[in-house]
């Protein structure tokens, strides 16, 4: 039978072969292009990122991906220097002629708008646009408004809750361009708050709701166009920027086409083979590709410690077992940071101090001076065991909370194993990334014992770390960020006192912040396990030497240029 069936099978085979030939023929249409199709325009740079920004409307976005773009689209009254390293954390005047003057015991901020400012749609900028911008951020509301605006700006809470028609603490004069902001209490980093892209000016009258695909015009070197939801957008040079000369803010040299693709490995390969140009700094390069990239892209890839982020394990100091200092010391002593760094493809810088290196107050001391062993050397399990035994808490059950994303989950797995090695009965509990922090933030309901935590600076001021994360006054029943519920009178008093010192005068209290940071390390309130290094990776088309990797916002798009 099979022999006589051949004609029928031959028909089916022919059909399949025809389909294959069609595919091959279609693909051969691109035979001349060894590389995949890409934008042919020479002045367009393609950036690939694993996560699309939460929003390109600055009134909503509170993500690293969004801030990176919005920073160069919406300039605030103040902004940051477009420089690498610590120099990039320096505040410079933005739309105001100078940095705001601070008076009335740190409670009044005043500045005057520059002349001749226009939005990217050509409309002139007036001082009252600032008041409108802040009102919009409160109404939407922007993710950071509850932390940086409503607690400090007079009348902000009343406006946000609908009890007032305007923000009482903001007064503007369109004729003179003068802007005055009254705070209810001194807040040292308020000039940094004014530099948030969210407070970058937008025109009055722009809708008070989020405009996800047609964000407001701004004043900056770039403007955003062609937004395709969760897929792509373009940052193109603002045509009006050349008429505005703000010292320290460069013009855009190229257009940037940003494409989101959750397959980060494919993104890395695209940059390696030149079908994309810039790899998003906030994405992790998969360990399996690291060697290849290091070998083939030696001159256009490196890891950079931006100096403004800390990875740590929170230890709930309000409940057993970590209300016992010896138990906390045991954890810090046993932590094997080099091993954890290896798990993270070598992207962690072993450390023991809570403040990262570029934040004022970070102790400029070698790791050998850390109170519970040199983190470069790996954990001392025997000593940790002895400490736990001494505490009388060996055998205590501990739940380790963890996100599911890698390498964070793997870090917490290693940590759980270490806890079991030293004598705890530890189990790991995994939560979805999107609900992790809000879940463990339910301090009164959940009572989380220990787990993963991190913090990336909102601005280079130590109170951005100590305020929400270790100040006892910031413990909240929900959305709590002081996961360890640390409530130490000394920390609380220091944060209250030092937190009022303006960013521009931080050096005057650097020693006191340092003393506080050393105190926290000594008390083992948190188990710091490193500062993260981020990938600075570009294609061979890019002028790599000219790239600026800004410590707060990452890639500075104004530094992008082609060879």
């Amino acid at each position: 039978m099979s022999r006589t069936l051949r004609p029928a099978l031959a028909g089916l085979t022919a059909l399949a072969v025809a389909a294959a030939i069609t595919l091959v023929a279609l693909s051969s249409g691109n035979a001349n292009a060894k590389r995949p199709a890409r934008n042919a325009a020479a002045s367009v740079v393609q950036m690939v990122e694993g996560t699309f920004p939460q929003s390109l409307d600055p009134g909503l976005d509170y993500t690293t991906q969004g801030s990176e773009i919005n920073w160069v689209v919406y300039t605030g009254l103040a902004t940051y220097a477009h420089k690498n390293g610590v120099a990039g954390a320096q505040l410079i005047p933005g739309l105001c002629t100078a940095l705001p003057t601070i008076s009335n015991g740190g409670k009044t901020y005043t500045c005057t708008l520059r002349k001749g400012l226009v939005f990217s749609n050509g409309k002139p900028v007036v001082a009252s646009d600032f008041a409108y911008t802040m009102e919009r951020a409160l109404k939407i509301p922007w993710g950071g408004s509850g932390a940086f605006l409503t607690p400090y700006v007079v009348g902000a809470q009343a406006f946000a809750s609908g009890k007032a028609k305007s923000i009482a603490g903001v007064s503007t004069n369109d004729a003179t361009g003068k802007i005055t902001i009254q705070l209810s209490q001194a807040y040292g980093p308020f000039t940094n708050v004014l530099a948030f892209p969210m407070l970058g000016l937008i025109p009055s009258g722009f809708p008070m709701t989020v405009q996800a695909t047609s964000p407001p015009p701004g004043v900056g070197p770039y403007m955003v166009t062609n937004i395709v939801a969760n897929t792509s957008f373009e940052a193109v040079p603002n045509p009006y920027w050349s008429k505005i000369n703000i010292p320290g803010i460069p013009s855009a040299k190229v257009s940037v086409e940003v494409k989101a693709n959750s397959n980060v490995a494919a993104n890395a390969l695209s940059v390696l083979n030149g079908s994309a140009d810039i790899f998003d700094w906030a994405d992790n390069i998969p360990g399996s590709l690291l060697q290849q990239i290091q070998a083939k892209a030696a001159g256009r890839f490196r890891y950079v410690n931006l100096g403004g982020s800390t990875y740590y394990i929170f230890l709930n100091a309000s409940e057993p077992p970590f209300n016992n200092q010896l138990a906390r010391e045991a954890v810090v002593t046993g932590l094997n940071q080099p091993a954890m760094s290896r798990i993270g493809s070598g992207t962690l810088v072993p450390a023991c101090y809570f403040l990262p290196p570029d934040i004022v107050g970070h102790p400029p001391l070698p790791n050998s001076s850390c109170p519970y062993g040199n983190p470069d050397k790996g954990g001392n399990i025997a000593k940790a065991k002895a400490l736990l035994k001494q505490s009388g808490l060996a055998g205590t059950s501990v739940t380790v909370w963890s996100e599911t994303r890698q390498p964070r989950q793997a870090w917490m797995t290693a940590y759980t194993q270490m806890l079991n090695q030293i004598g705890f009965k530890a189990t790991q509990k995994l939560l979805s990334d999107s609900t992790y922090f809000t879940t463990i933030g339910q301090s009164k309901k959940l009572h989380p014992q220990t787990g993963f935590a991190d913090w990336n600076q909102d601005f280079p001021h130590p109170v951005d770390f100590y305020g929400p994360l270790l100040d006892g006054n910031s413990i909240l029943p929900t959305n709590n960020e002081n996961f360890g519920q640390t409530n130490d009178p000394y920390i609380n008093a220091q944060v209250k006192k030092l937190g009022t010192v303006p960013t521009t005068q931080l050096q005057s209290v650097a020693k006191q912040w340092q003393a506080l940071d050393e105190y926290v390390a000594k008390k083992a309130y948190v188990a710091v396990f490193g500062y993260e290094k981020f990938p600075e990776f570009a294609s061979s088309r890019i002028n790599y030497g000219a790239l600026v990797f800004q410590p707060i916002y990452g890639w500075d798009l104004t530094s992008f240029s082609l060879k």
Partner: protein, 316 residues
């Protein structure tokens, strides 16, 4: 026909209601992480801000009010993602051409190749060809798309640059680039189905070959080719077509999550994956509704095809 359509319509409404209710309860009422307002408010929100958001999005209203409001928004096209404020319908509309392109190409490939492989394996049952095809089928069924995709991207995309690493070009922009960018995703998505379908078809053909009417056809002196094509395949294809309809509908409704994610195809599957990651409940609900509608509609079409292939089956 009218009875068939009415019955189908009522089934579809009941099914959509049940699915929407279960999904809503799972993702909105039993949301892991508690109050969705807390999640939306972000890490630094204070209680009054959480309360404000809760009120704005209606999370402080009774569950049934939330359900009907959400469903009304989904069906009238005014549903917005809580997280990003993008219009959900726009996002699905934007992703559908990519998903349909992927599903069409892959669906044709997996149907044709599995018919070829299944038939070959059946008529060569127990012989070398059958054993080779069995092994290939097993490999196909066991090959996860994320692994196969990663291998293809690395070797054919990065190492040799034969295929693009990722991305999608609309058919209207360039049919050649459209096909070129979809070759690898088509292949990756098809492999799994080919393995499964060819095994099912092989088994069905072997069963059909021993049926009385096949023996009768042979006894009547019909050529083996005619027996195979007109009598054996026609009947044996029924379960395959039924399966194909369901699988095709599932892919259209976002079922190709892994393939779309691996190749960076911003289709409905990619959107579904992103929405799950962000617990973007409104978008998820909309995608679930789309899948349900696609499955029900395509199943109805499959029933029509059944009637064509097997005259004994009547729609009513």
């Amino acid at each position: 026909m009218a009875r068939f359509l009415i019955r189908r319509g009522l089934t579809m409404i009941a099914l959509l209601f049940a699915i929407s209710l279960v999904t809503f309860l799972l993702f909105i009422v039993v949301l892991p992480g508690g109050n969705p307002a807390s999640m939306l408010a972000g890490r630094l929100a204070n209680p009054s801000e959480v309360q404000l958001i809760s009120h704005r999005y209606g999370f402080d209203q009774p569950v049934y009010v939330q359900y009907f409001k959400t469903m009304a928004n989904i069906f009238d096209g005014s549903a917005y993602s809580y997280q990003s404020s993008f219009n959900v319908d726009d996002q699905i509309r934007q992703g559908l051409p990519t998903t349909v392109s992927l599903a069409l190409g892959a669906g044709i490939i997996w149907l044709l190749v599995s018919i070829l492989f299944g038939t070959l394996a059946a008529i060569r049952a127990g012989r070398y060809t059958d054993r080779v095809l069995t092994v290939l089928s097993m490999v196909g069924v066991s090959m996860p798309p994320f692994f196969l995709g990663a291998v293809i991207i690395f070797y054919l995309g990065y190492k040799t640059s034969i295929l693009p690493i990722n991305g999608y070009v609309p058919f209207t922009q360039s049919p050649i680039q459209w096909a070129y960018h979809l070759i690898a995703p088509w292949f990756t998505l098809s492999v799994l189905f080919i393995g499964f379908y060819s095994r099912v078809l092989r088994s069905t053909i072997l069963d059909t070959l021993s049926e009385d009417y096949v023996r009768t056809a042979r006894a009547k002196g019909l050529s083996p080719r005619r027996v195979l094509v007109h009598h054996v395949l026609r009947t044996s294809l029924l379960p395959i077509i039924s399966l194909w309809g369901l699988d095709f509908a599932q892919v259209i409704g976002g079922g190709a999550i892994l393939t779309e994610s691996v190749y960076g195809l911003h289709g409905v599957g990619y959107l579904a994956a992103q929405s799950v990651g962000k617990l973007d409940t409104v978008t998820l609900l909309s995608i679930v509704m789309l899948t349900a509608i696609a499955v029900v509609v395509l199943q109805a079409l499959v029933d029509f095809l059944y009637a064509v292939l097997d005259p004994r089956i009547r729609l009513a």
